[in-house]
Symmetry: C2
Subunit: 385 residues, 2 copies
C-alpha cells in the first residue's frame, strides 16, 4: 500500500441552514481545495457521503458537485451507511489512493434536514436502523440508545449524572468552536432537568439534527513529491467493520462489536496502541454512545469511562481529550457530514489551527464514526508528520 | 494490482414483487454464494447498490443483509450513483480486491419501487438528475432522453423506426430470459403505435420500472488457489467516469462523454479493442440510449449504430450481440440492481448457461452502466479463462 496524506479539510458551520445539501457540499469542498493548496483539476475522483438526499428530492449528488467544481469528468458516487456514511466514504477513498487507483481524491459529506419537521426527521433517521423490526414499532434511535444506556447502567452502575457529564464536557468544548451548532454552556443539572426523550436519556443527552457539510482531500506521496507540497498529516490506519443491523439480536447491548473490530484493525495497521493517541473524535450521538465508544476503543476499561469523564480526564486539558470539537452533541450531527467533519477537526488540531480548543502538542488523532446502533463503524488514525 | 475473478452471480426475477428490497437482496446474494461454491463466511466485505431505499423507509441496507447471511461483522456500505449504482458498487469492490484489501467481496444491487404509483416513481427517478434545474421543471428522464433522441436525429438522421428496432430486438432476446420483466414479442409497428411519452419517445421506447435484485461475488487469485476453486471468469478491465450532472450544460446531447472515458479506461486496462468483444450488455433505459451507447463505446461509428440494429447485426446471432439478456428494455430496470444484473448476464453467458439466448462461443463480454443522463458511467470487461 502507498502512503496516503490528508492534505486539506474544511467544513461549513453546522446548524440550521437555508442552503441545499448540494450548495453546502460545494462550499465545504471549495474551502478544502483552497487549504490543500491544489486546483480542482488535481482531483481525480470523489465520494459524497449523504443519507437523506431524497428529503430534498436530490440523489446522485456526485456529478452535480463535480460539475460545480469544473471537473465533471471526475467520477463521484454517493456512499451511505447511515450515520457512518462519512467515515465509510473516507475509507473507500483511502483504499483507492493507497492502492494507486487515484492520486488525489475529495471526500465530501453533506446533509440538509432542517426543513423537515422533528417527527419526520426522527422517522427518517430511523430508516438507518432495522425499520421493519425496530423503527415501525416506534423504536427510533433515542429509544434504542436508551436501551443501551439501561444495559450499561445495569452492567456497570453507570449513572444519569455521569452521562450528563459527557454533555457538559462536549458543550464546554463546543463553546470554543465557532462552527458548532449548539454553542451554549450547560450544567449537569441542566441535563438532568431537560425533558425526558427516552428514559434514561433526556433532551440534553442527545445530539441535534443539523444541516452542514465537511470535505477532506487525500493524496498519494508521489503526488505530494511531484508538486512539492508539504506533507503535514499522514493516514496511519484505517479500520471498517459491520455489526448486526438490529439491536434485539445482540447478546450484549453495552458494547459495540463493530467499534472493537474497526479500531483493532486501524490500530494494528498504525502499529500503535490507544495509549499513543493525543486525542480522539468519537461518535457521541447520545452521551451513552461516547461512554461505550471510549470503552470499546480501549481508551478506558469497561465501566470506567464515565468515571474518567466526571474526573475531567477527557477534557481538552485532560490526559486524553475526547471530542475537542464539541462532538456530535455540541458541534452537531449533519448525518452524511459527521464522519468527514471529525476528520476536519483532526486536520485543524494536527495543523495547530484549533484556537482555544487546541489540544496541546497534538501529534496523533483518531476518528470513530458509527452507523445506527453499530451496524457500521469506521475508525481512522492520523499522525502529524 | 492483483488479478480478480468473477466467481458467482445470480439474480431474482425482475418485475413486480411483493418482497422488500431487503428480502430480494438476500435471495440474490444467497443464490450467488451457492453458485460461487463458497460459504457466506468466506465473504469479507460487501457493497449494496440501492437508490430508493427511502421509498421503503429503509436505508443502511448493508448490515441487514450481512446479518441475514450470518456475517454481521462484514462491513457493507450502500453505493448510489442513480441508475449506475450497481456498476459503481462493482467498481469499488473491484478496487478493494485488486488492491488486496479483501480477498472475497459480495456486491448486491436491489430495488423495490412497484408499491409506488407511476407518478411518484417517475418523480423519484428524476431525483437522479439535476432536480433543481431539470426535475422540478418537469424534465424527468423520458423528457431528457427525448431531447437526446431529437439531437441524434438532427445530427445523424436517425429515425423513429430505427429506435423501434432496438426495442423489438431486446424484446426478442427477453423472450428467452425467464427472469425478464417484459416477456412479450413486439413489432416495430407496436412501438410506433404505443402512446407517446415524450416525443419522439413512446411507451415501448422506454424500459419499465422493476423490482428485483442481483448479486455478484469476486475473489482474488490467492483465494482461488488456496481453496482449489476453478477460475472461470477474470475481470480484465474496469472503467469509471463522471459527466456533467445536468443535460442543459452540454455542447453535444447526442453522445455521453462519460461512456467514452469509462470505456477507454476499461479497454485500455484489458488491452483489447471493441472488435475483440463477443457481446455487450449496455444501458438501454430508452432505445436511443442503446444507440448512443454503441457509438460511444466505439462498436459502431457515430450515426451507424441504428442502421446496424435494423440490419440485425446486434441480434444474438449477429456479429456483435447487444443486450442478449433483453436489456433494461425487456429484462427490466430495478435501478440499484441493474448494473449488477448486467454482470449476472455476463456470468451466465461466459459459463455457457444462457439457454436459448446463449451467444455462440462467448469469451469476452462488456457491461456498460449509466447513471441519469451520463453523470455517472461504469464499464467492465470480463473474459472466460
Amino acid at each position: 500500500m502507498n502512503k496516503v496524506f490528508l492534505i486539506g479539510a474544511a467544513g461549513t458551520a453546522y446548524g440550521k441552514s437555508n442552503l441545499t445539501a448540494r450548495d453546502l457540499s460545494m462550499l465545504a469542498s471549495k474551502h478544502a481545495i483552497e487549504n490543500a493548496g491544489i486546483k480542482p483539476q488535481d482531483i481525480q475522483a470523489s465520494f459524497v457521503a449523504n443519507a437523506f438526499g431524497m428529503a430534498e428530492k436530490q440523489g446522485h449528488l456526485g456529478p452535480l458537485l463535480m460539475s460545480s467544481l469544473g471537473i465533471p469528468h471526475a467520477p463521484s458516487s454517493t456512499i451511505e451507511a447511515a450515520c457512518c456514511s462519512g467515515g465509510s466514504a473516507f475509507r473507500e477513498a483511502y483504499v483507492n489512493v493507497a492502492s494507486g487507483f487515484y492520486d488525489v481524491m475529495l471526500i465530501t459529506g453533506t446533509e440538509k434536514v432542517s426543513h423537515l419537521d422533528t417527527l419526520t426527521a426522527t422517522t427518517y433517521f430511523a430508516y438507518g436502523g432495522d425499520y421493519l423490526f425496530e423503527g415501525c414499532s416506534g423504536a427510533s434511535f433515542p429509544g434504542l440508545y436508551a436501551a443501551m444506556a439501561r444495559a450499561h447502567m445495569h452492567e456497570y452502575g453507570t449513572t444519569e449524572e455521569e452521562l450528563a457529564a459527557v454533555a457538559v464536557k462536549n458543550h464546554n468544548n463546543g463553546m470554543f468552536n465557532e462552527k458548532a451548532h449548539l454553542q451554549k454552556k450547560i450544567t449537569v443539572d441542566d441535563v438532568l432537568k431537560s425533558p425526558v426523550v427516552a428514559d434514561p436519556l433526556k433532551l440534553f443527552d442527545a445530539c441535534p439534527f443539523s444541516d452542514g457539510a465537511a470535505a477532506a482531500i487525500i493524496a498519494s506521496e508521489e503526488f505530494m513529491n511531484r508538486n512539492g507540497l508539504e506533507k503535514k498529516i499522514s493516514i496511519k490506519g484505517s479500520g471498517r467493520s459491520g455489526g448486526s443491523g438490529s439491536l434485539h439480536t445482540r447478546e450484549d447491548m453495552s458494547s459495540l462489536e463493530s467499534t472493537i473490530r474497526a479500531s483493532r484493525e486501524a490500530l494494528g495497521q498504525a502499529g500503535i496502541s490507544v495509549k499513543d493517541l493525543d486525542f480522539a473524535e468519537v461518535h457521541d450521538c447520545f452521551t451513552i454512545a461516547e461512554i461505550i465508544a471510549m470503552e470499546d476503543l480501549g481508551i478506558f476499561e469497561k465501566g470506567q469511562a464515565s468515571k474518567a469523564v466526571v474526573e475531567g480526564r477527557t477534557a481538552i486539558n485532560g490526559e486524553i481529550p475526547i471530542n475537542p470539537s464539541g462532538g456530535l452533541k455540541s458541534k452537531g450531527h449533519p448525518v452524511g457530514a459527521t464522519g468527514v467533519g471529525q476528520i476536519v477537526e483532526v486536520f485543524d488540531q494536527l495543523t495547530g489551527n484549533s484556537g482555544k480548543r487546541q489540544v496541546n502538542d497534538a501529534r496523533i488523532g483518531l476518528t470513530h464514526n458509527v452507523g445506527a446502533t453499530g451496524g457500521s463503524c469506521a475508525v481512522h488514525i492520523f499522525e502529524r508528520e
